[in-house]
Structure formats: structure tokens, C-alpha cells
Symmetry: C2
Subunit: 615 residues, 2 copies
């Protein structure tokens, strides 16, 4: 989305950028670059600011759509390309990563002839030489494609500037031959120097710069298009050279005052990146004596100070990875349990520990979880981790999960994941590492509820005296509790037995409510279809229980589908027969209503308890 | 807490550190420092590793309790002291922030005689000169106290090393006089140079180093003691000079490969800090040619790579600041509403937008929220922000909240906070900025539930035809719906009228359930006392409603206190009279039970809907 359009209730962020823009519009220090004739044509008053977040918001004010050439701001992006095409080790042999303290056009080769870093021209030309491609044309194509992914739109060269660069670029040609001399470039250096002129002549806008910076902030994924511009693992390297070498001989003060990796260009642009949060692009052609945009630097400094953007300014966040923590003694799956089962879960449920996690699973966040799990390791029997709200994970967190699984299974304890479908790294990691030895102790479920039910069933199987699956006699139905034999002899003949096959729909949402159901054998689930199209289980009933009573009470149409999870035997009580009991046998009806109210009270107490877990 | 002790189910983190320790124990490259005779006595085999998180976990392996002198690792901490005692501007006049590319003991003064940064000896001595105190003794006391806060225990000098430093410290005395010559030190430089020798001679352990680093990672709050060692606002400055100058002429490669601000010392220690997450301390006396601990560097590199600790390696996190988002059409306060009120809330409740926030409210996180609020600005009438799960906030977020408040109130919309008690910065900010013009449009509540009820009442007051407060006639009680006049004439004489004053307890938790209550006038709340001692409202009832029916149904003792929120008139139906109706007037009892079941169904449907909001 774009927040750049005006509206009657403008955004406070946009208000602030407008204010900043108007404040610095009167600042006229500095000179437009003249070393290339085409650059000298820039209007010194051009001034744009763009702030783009990793959530996809783009705020742009002033001359944010004015095209200009990217110049040195291309350097970190091309360095990223070199890393992708060659890997860190090979790139390190041709370009160093140490700051020089020298000006942007210094040659600065170290004693082996290697350029000291990729932000000076020598290092940038060496980086351009590392772009993959069979021909000059294909290399340029790869460059343009990648830059387009960063900007979220197709980018093109400014041919006038390119010609101007190429005509006057003698110093850079000298650097090219110097690099060739030290074997930092292969073959004829001319095409590489031309490619470097082309990368500098790429036409961008201030808005593009903001989005390109936000893409680096977002681990290489353009937040406006969702497309990957550079593999996430190389982003830290690109930002590192920006952090240590991006602002030439100004690096220490920049990191001290602004605290964001940054890169400026001689055409008057500057980008700054706050990893994980946002990117900034500013454009104003007047430059200071270091070759940095005067207004751009001031705007970055103000933004950093006013918006608390310093990369080293952050508090602890690890604990907040746990969104909800509860045990099966406090909250249970939607399977409706018998009183005996409920008692067992209440008594022994602490052995099932459930964590709903959220946010990014870094090492520190995952460590906080692992530590909490280990605090009650002896009492634990089953660990359930629900990852529905997890946004991302890194490999060190996957490794911790795997190590935890080893420890748990060695002690005969289970580990269960729910919702891993959106975290491919974890799925891959656990699959690669998965060994036979875990057997039944490691499970992955699509949803939280069946995962919790599985844990509960494991626990109940070992604590209950009777098996979980059984056929219940009619007289033992919970709703018939307290009825005398005489009363039962009136009631039971009213029941009609029905059989359903596994997956058969017993009740359709929207149907008129005509019967009350009693489960004699098997399981049923109450399911609703969510807006997303997914099916969510609201409740599940086993033998001995009644269902469909709420619609009988409020005479509303059925509110959910009820489906047979197994082959099921049910007894049906017709609602008219139920009503007639009020006249013919009021004592029976009163007992049924009392038992029904009791069941509703229990469910209400359970849900009230469940909801308190979330608060 | 400490995770450093061994147990039968050791932590995977500790396992990993043990493995790392054993791997590098065989690395014997490098030489113990000899430039001070006392340092040369170190056992070259000493080797400790400590990792401490901002959550307070401390993992330590090897010789983590072996004392040694802190040496140059004291420099960033003393620089932090200088900042606290003088402010950034005054410190900047005496000590710069640019890396030198020179060795640790270079004099490196810039053209004004100012040391280039506080990590070289000249800058460290100038920093020591800025520690506040009337006497040498009080300055040393302040130094020791602050370092003790960082370490979480009292620290002392190693007098043998101090004497040795002082006896051989001619070069540092020369630096002192040079600084005096350029007016970078006031008065006699000798006491300041002595103080510098003392700071270097502070005796610490590897475990201390880990905790000190974690304190910097935790915005200055020691995560093991909860005490503030340095004001949070200065931490970014300390980390900045560590980041750009902490590893001498190795800064670029360090940030590239390790990606954490760091500082090493000649006694063999090194600290590294990952802001917001963790601190690392390693101790091993053998040094490389740069004066850095050989094993320490390798361990930091491995930790950074294996645990994905690079400061620039993070994905987007902004969206996850919203834990729950719902409107009053989906979930309501615990006040039980009449059918008409419920219908109105269902129909118009979208105008009340509720957000439960979580984690750290940075600019980016808050921007994501503000943007979402603005997406439905026209339909909004009341914005409720629940900050219960918010861990921290910075000023830019406070400013965004204030600007949002201005926009909302200008449009006649309300903004309501719940749970600001643990966020003093926001309270201060909103108080300072609070102006009369907001009137009734800005409110702060202690808890979510009354805040939501207030919003609902605002909405209902403008959409309902009748006033919210009224007296209800007995025949209009919801539970009596459908009863004939004849039946009412049997039932009403059984009711006993009782009056309660505001705050009076109507029902005590634990009492036997003897009556069913009907509210004729006023409000009552059902409250439970939480483990924390706080009171939580489970439900609230208005005129026309019944309460206490659940205990009547399941004959359990009262489960909560029921309190009069206003002066209240109630009618009581004795449980024995209720029971007798089953024999004398079964038709009445059946209707009452049916209405009661209907009420339970409605509550159950509401709570089921509520809980789906959290999932």
C-alpha cells in the first residue's frame, strides 16, 4: 500500500515529514556536483523525502517522483549482487571490508592490490566485475532486473548521464586498469568500467530509494511487492559495509548520531536502513565538502533523533515471544469430556504444557522458551508448541527446537507442533533431522485443537481405568442422570436409533432444529467454516453425550455442521416429543432441563476458564 | 536466574557452549601480554565463556569464575559514566567518535588535540577525567559503584596489578600531560591517570563480563538484578563507539563477520553486545598481534554465525505489535446486555475498534497501528488501546499516540487507553500534552473491561431509544418471559425485595447458594480475586436480569463475589421455593428452566464468539 496520497485525515507520519520538508527547504548550504556536466543541470531546489516501512507503508513528500541518477548509492546493491553470484569468500578475495577514512574517489588498494571496501570507486568497480553474465548485455540485464526488484518497478538508464560519465570517466578507467594489474579484474577492464558507469546512471526517484532501503531493512524482500531482491543471508553483509564504510570519512560520527547503515551519492541522494523496521530515502542535490547531500544528512539526523531509530537503541524483547502459556489443567481441547475425564485432566493436566508463540523466533527468543520449558522438565509429559502467530524463524532457533526434541524424547516425553505450514525452514530442518528414534514422541498437527486433544488422549490413556473408546448404554446417557427406571421406561421408547458413516454430515448449518442427539458410539465434531474458507472445530462429543441441545432451547436454525469423525451410532429425540413431555411427564422434562442447564453451566465455566488463559 | 548449574537435563544452550569450549581449548596460538609484569603471570590455559540474555538467563562454562583485571574493557563503561555526568555535547568536546585505524596505545589526537575516540588510551583517559566527584576517592567510588551495577555484584581493585600498572605506565602519563597541554584535561593530570590505572585494574570474572554486556544489551538495566547501571538514552552512544572503534584496526571485518559492538582487553577478555537480546563475555589470555584474545575472537565469530546474532540480520516485526484486534460487534464487555442492547452493539459495534498491543512500541510498530486505525477512520467512533502486554515505549511512539488523539478528537471521536500503569513515559507524555480541548474524548482506565463498557455505553446512549438506567417491573424480568398472568400471580408473591448500598457485597464467594437474584434497579458486578491479588470482573448485570442461577443449577458454593456497583434493589427467589414449583406448578418451573437455559445458551454463544477473537 501507499500512504503517500493526501486525504482529509492525513497520517501523523506524513504530517511530520511535511513539517521536516518545509523546515529544511530554506537550507541552501552546499553546491550541486559539477564533475560530470549532466549532474550540474540539477535544480538545486529539488527536495524529496521518503520513509518506507517493512510493513509496506510508503510515506513520500516533496519532489519524491523527480528522476535523478543513483550514482554511488548503487554500490551496496551491486556489492549484494556480487555476493549472490560468487559467495562471501570469493568476493572477499577481490574486495575488502575495512573503512579507509579517505574520500569517495580515492583508489585505496591494500598491500595486495585489493580495494579496501566496496563503497569506494575501486571496490565498486571490482564488485561490478563480479556480476554473473556471459556478455556485457546480460550483465547489464541482471543489474537492471535486480535493481527493479529492489525498487518494485522497472528501472532504466539515463543515457545522457551515462554518456557524460563515460566521456569524463578517465580516473575510473585508471582504477580499472590498476585493478587489472593486481588481478582484481579478469580480462579487459573496459566493459566492467562501462558497466560501472551504467550502474551509476540508473534513473531513480526518491520514492524508489525509500523502497530500496526498506527492502534491505526487510531482509531482502521488497515490502511493497513481496518479491525477494537479494537472498536474506547476504543482507547483513551489505548493511555491514554500509555501516562501516557507507559515509566515507564520516562513519564514526554517522553511526554515533544517526545509527543506521547508510549510503549517499553525488547526485544528492542518500539512503538509510533500520533493519527490521524501515528504510529512508532523501534527495536534495546540494552537497557538503564530503560529497554528501546537505539536506539529506540533516533530515536523516532529525528522523533518527525524533523517531528513536538508532540501531543500537533497543530494549529486551525475548520474553514476549510467548503469547500464551497454559497447561491442560487450565484449558482443554474442544472435545467435550466426561466428568471422569475432566477430573483426570484437571488433576494431571499440568503435565501437558502448551505455548502459543509469536513474532520472530531468534536465538534469544527461543532460548527464553526453552528455558521456561526446562524449569518444569520433570513434571512435563507433553510439550505443545503452537506456531500460528510466528512470523519467522532462523536456523539457530530450529537447532534449539531440535535439541529440545532430543532431550524430551530421551526422557520419554512428547513434543508436538501445531501450525508449521508457513515456516518452511522449520519444516525442512525437522524433516532433515528427523530420525526413527523419536517414533510417536514427535508429531506435527495442522491446528492447535487436534494437537491438544492428541496430548490429552495420551495422558488419559495412562490415567483412566476404562478405555477412551466404548459404547454407552441408553440409560447411562449424561442427560438422563437422576431419572428413575419408570421414567426411563417412558423416555427410552421415544428414542430413534440412527447410524452414520465416518465423514457423514449429521446436521447441516442452517437446518431447522428438529431433534436432540445422543451419542451411543463413536465421535462427532461441530465444525464451522471460517471467512478464510478453513474449517474450525468448535466442539467434539463422545459416547454418552448429547448434542444439538442449544438449537432445541433457542429454536434457532442449526449454527454449525456436525460431522461423524468415526462410524457413529446416535439416538434421536424428536423436539415435539420433548415438548409433549412438559404436559404428559413434567417431572421428566424438568430433570432433562436441569441436566441440560447443568451441562450448559459446565460448558460456560470451561469457556470462561479458557478465556481467562488469554487475558 | 542462573542457568549455569549442571543438572540431569542440561540446557541445549549450555551443551553448545561446552562444545565450543572444548573445541577451542586446543587452540594455543598467541601470547599472554607481558607489558605489565603482573599480567604475564596469567595461566595461558584459562578459558571461560559466558552468554547472558536480556531475560536474565546466564550461561557460563569453563573458567568463568577466574578473576582477572578488566583492562581496556573498562573503557566503554567509563565513557558511559562520562556521558551521564556531562551529557553528549560536553563529552564530544573532549573525546571524538571516529575510528583511527591505529593500535590501542596510539596517542591519536585530532588537529584540535582531542583524542579521536574513547576506545584508545588517550580518549579513555580523557573520559576518566570527566567522571564527576569532588575528590579522587569519590570519583573512584562512583566508578566502582557503577561497575558493580553492571556486574550485579560489588567489584574491587586488584592492587598488585594496579601497582604494576602505575609503576610502568609512563606512556599513559605522557598522554595525560599531552591532554592537559591541549586543555582536554583540567588541572593536574596525575590523579586522572591514576584513576585510569585503577579502572583498568578492576578485578572481574568472565561471568561478570557476560552480565555487563547483557546490561548494555538491555538498555542499561542489569537483567539479573533489574537495576539501572546507565541511563537508557546513553547506551546507543556507548555501543556506537564500541561498534566503530571497539576492535581497533579490525572494525570493518569485525562488524562484517561478527556484527556486534564489542570491546577487548589486553588481559584476554572480550565482550560483545547484541542490543535487545544478549551479551557475551569470553576470557582467554593468549593474544593475537592486534592485542585481541585469540580464542575469544574465534568464540565470538562462531557464536555470531551459529546463533544468527548479527545486529543487521533481522526481518520485519512491525505488524506483530497488534496482539488482538476486534470491534464491539464481535466481542463485548462483561456487562450482560438486554436483547435490544445486544442487537444495537451487534449492528453498530464496528464503530468501536479495540486493539490489544504487545511488545516494544517503537516508531515502526506504532506506525503500523496508526495506519490500521486510519484505514477505517470514517467508520470509527471510539478507539480502545489496551497496553497490558506492552513491554516498553519510546518517545516517538508517544508522539504518534498524541497526534492520533488530536486527529480523533478534532473529528469528535474518542480515544481510550487501558493499562498504562506500567508505562510511565506514556503517562507523563499524555499528561504533559493533555489539554482541556479533549474533554470527554480522552479517557484512561485501569482495565480493559470497564474501558470497553464505557465505549459501549457511549455508543448505546446515542443509538437506543430508552435510557440505559431504569427500574424494571417484576413482570418484565427476562426469566419470566412467556409466563401467563395467572402464573405470575403464583410466582411474584414468592419474591422478597432487598436493598443494597453501593459497594455492598451481595454474595460472598464460598457461600452456600440459597437464592436466585433478580435486579429491579441498579448494577451489580461479579468479581473474582486473581492470584496476583487484583480483582477481575467476570460479568455485570443491569435491571431486569437474573444472577446467581449457575450455583442454583449445579448446587455448588458461590464461585465469586457479587458486588453492588450502584445502590441496588433486588428480588430474591428462595431455592426451596424454586424446587417446590416442580411439584406444585411444573409448567412454571419448566418455563423458568427453559428461560434459564436460553440465557445460558446466549452467554455460551457470546463467550464462544469472544474466544474466537483471540484465536
Amino acid at each position: 500500500m501507499s500512504a503517500g496520497t493526501e486525504s482529509s485525515h492525513s497520517s501523523p507520519v506524513l504530517d511530520y515529514l511535511h513539517q521536516l520538508h518545509s523546515e529544511y527547504s530554506s537550507l541552501t548550504e552546499g553546491q550541486v556536483a559539477t564533475y560530470i556536466p549532466e549532474l550540474a543541470k540539477a535544480n538545486p531546489e529539488w527536495f524529496g523525502i521518503c520513509l518506507a516501512t517493512t510493513n509496506g507503508a510508503v510515506y513520500a513528500v516533496g519532489d519524491a517522483e523527480q528522476p535523478f541518477t543513483i550514482q554511488s548509492i548503487s554500490k551496496p546493491f551491486v556489492y549484494g549482487l556480487a555476493l549472490e553470484d560468487n559467495g562471501r569468500l570469493a568476493v572477499m578475495q577481490k574486495v575488502g571490508v575495512e573503512p579507509t577514512g579517505d574520500a569517495f574517489n580515492s583508489i585505496s588498494l591494500d598491500r595486495t592490490g585489493r580495494p579496501r571496501n566496496p563503497m569506494i570507486n575501486a571496490g565498486a568497480i571490482a564488485s561490478a566485475g563480479l556480476i554473473a553474465g556471459k556478455s556485457a548485455k546480460s550483465k547489464l540485464r541482471r543489474l537492471l532486473d535486480t535493481m527493479g526488484l529492489y525498487a518494485g518497478r522497472e528501472l532504466a538508464l539515463d543515457h545522457a548521464v551515462y554518456s557524460s560519465e563515460s566521456e569524463t570517466g578517465h580516473r575510473n578507467r585508471a582504477i580499472g586498469y590498476m585493478l587489472r594489474n593486481f588481478d582484481m579484474l579478469d580480462g579487459d577492464p573496459s566493459p566492467t568500467v562501462e558497466l560501472y558507469f551504467q550502474q551509476c546512471s540508473l534513473s531513480v526517484t526518491c520514492r524508489d530509494l525509500g523502497i530500496m532501503a526498506a527492502t534491505l531493512a526487510n531482509r531482502g524482500v521488497n515490502p511493497t511487492t513481496g518479491k525477494q531482491a537479494i537472498r536474506g543471508e547476504y543482507v547483513e553483509s551489505v548493511l555491514s559495509v554500509m555501516g562501516s564504510c557507507g559515509m566515507y570519512d564520516y562513519a564514526g560520527e554517522w553511526i554515533y548520531n544517526v545509527g543506521m547503515p547508510a549510503k549517499s551519492g553525488v547526485s544528492g541522494g542518500v539512503i538509510a536502513v533500520l533493519p527490521g523496521q524501515l528504510g529512508i530515502g532523501v534527495f536534495s542535490p546540494r552537497l557538503d565538502e564530503h560529497g554528501n547531500t546537505v539536506r539529506g544528512i540533516r533530515v536523516c539526523q532529525d528522523l533518527a533523533r525524533h523517531l528513536d531509530l538508532h540501531v543500537f537503541n533497543c530494549g529486551g524483547t525475548g520474553e514476549s515471544v510467548i503469547r500464551v502459556h497454559f497447561t491442560a489443567a487450565e484449558m482443554n481441547s474442544s472435545r467435550v469430556r466426561t466428568s471422569e475425564e475432566s477430573r483426570a485432566l484437571h488433576e494431571f493436566g499440568r503435565a501437558i504444557q502448551c505455548f502459543q508463540l509469536q513474532g520472530d523466533l531468534s536465538f534469544t527468543a527461543t532460548e527464553a522458551l526453552v528455558r521456561q520449558v526446562q524449569q518444569d522438565f520433570d513434571g512435563l509429559r507433553c510439550l505443545l508448541l503452537d506456531l500460528k502467530r510466528v512470523l519467522g524463524i532462523n536456523e539457530s532457533a530450529c537447532r534449539l527446537f531440535y535439541q529440545l526434541l532430543v532431550k524430551l524424547s530421551d526422557a520419554g516425553k512428547s513434543m508436538v507442533f501445531a501450525h508449521t505450514e508457513h515456516i518452511p525452514l522449520l519444516r525442512r530442518y525437522m524433516r532433515v533431522k528427523l530420525e526413527k528414534r523419536f517414533g510417536e514422541l514427535y508429531r506435527v498437527f495442522d491446528d492447535h485443537d487436534p494437537a491438544l486433544e492428541w496430548c490429552e488422549n495420551q495422558l488419559l490413556a495412562s490415567t483412566l481405568s476404562h478405555p477412551l473408546e466404548r459404547t454407552v448404554a441408553q440409560k447411562d446417557y449424561e442427560l438422563f442422570h437422576g431419572l428413575s427406571d419408570d421414567e426411563l421406561s417412558v423416555l427410552l421408547p421415544l428414542l430413534k436409533r440412527r447410524s452414520y458413516q465416518r465423514t457423514e454430515v449429521i446436521v447441516h448449518a442452517g437446518d431447522e432444529a428438529r431433534e436432540l442427539f445422543f451419542v451411543a458410539r463413536g465421535h462427532v465434531s461441530v465444525n464451522v467454516t471460517l471467512v478464510s474458507g478453513a474449517t474450525k472445530r468448535l466442539a467434539a462429543f463422545s459416547a454418552g453425550m448429547a448434542f444439538g441441545e442449544m438449537a432445541i432451547i433457542d429454536r434457532a436454525p442449526r449454527s454449525a455442521n456436525i460431522v461423524a469423525d468415526t462410524d457413529v451410532e446416535c439416538d434421536l429425540l424428536d423436539v415435539e416429543d420433548f415438548d409433549k413431555l412438559g404436559v404428559s411427564n413434567p417431572a421428566i422434562k424438568i430433570k432433562l432441563l436441569e441436566n441440560m442447564s447443568l451441562g450448559l453451566c459446565r460448558k460456560l465455566r470451561k469457556v470462561n476458564r479458557d478465556i481467562s488463559v488469554f487475558e
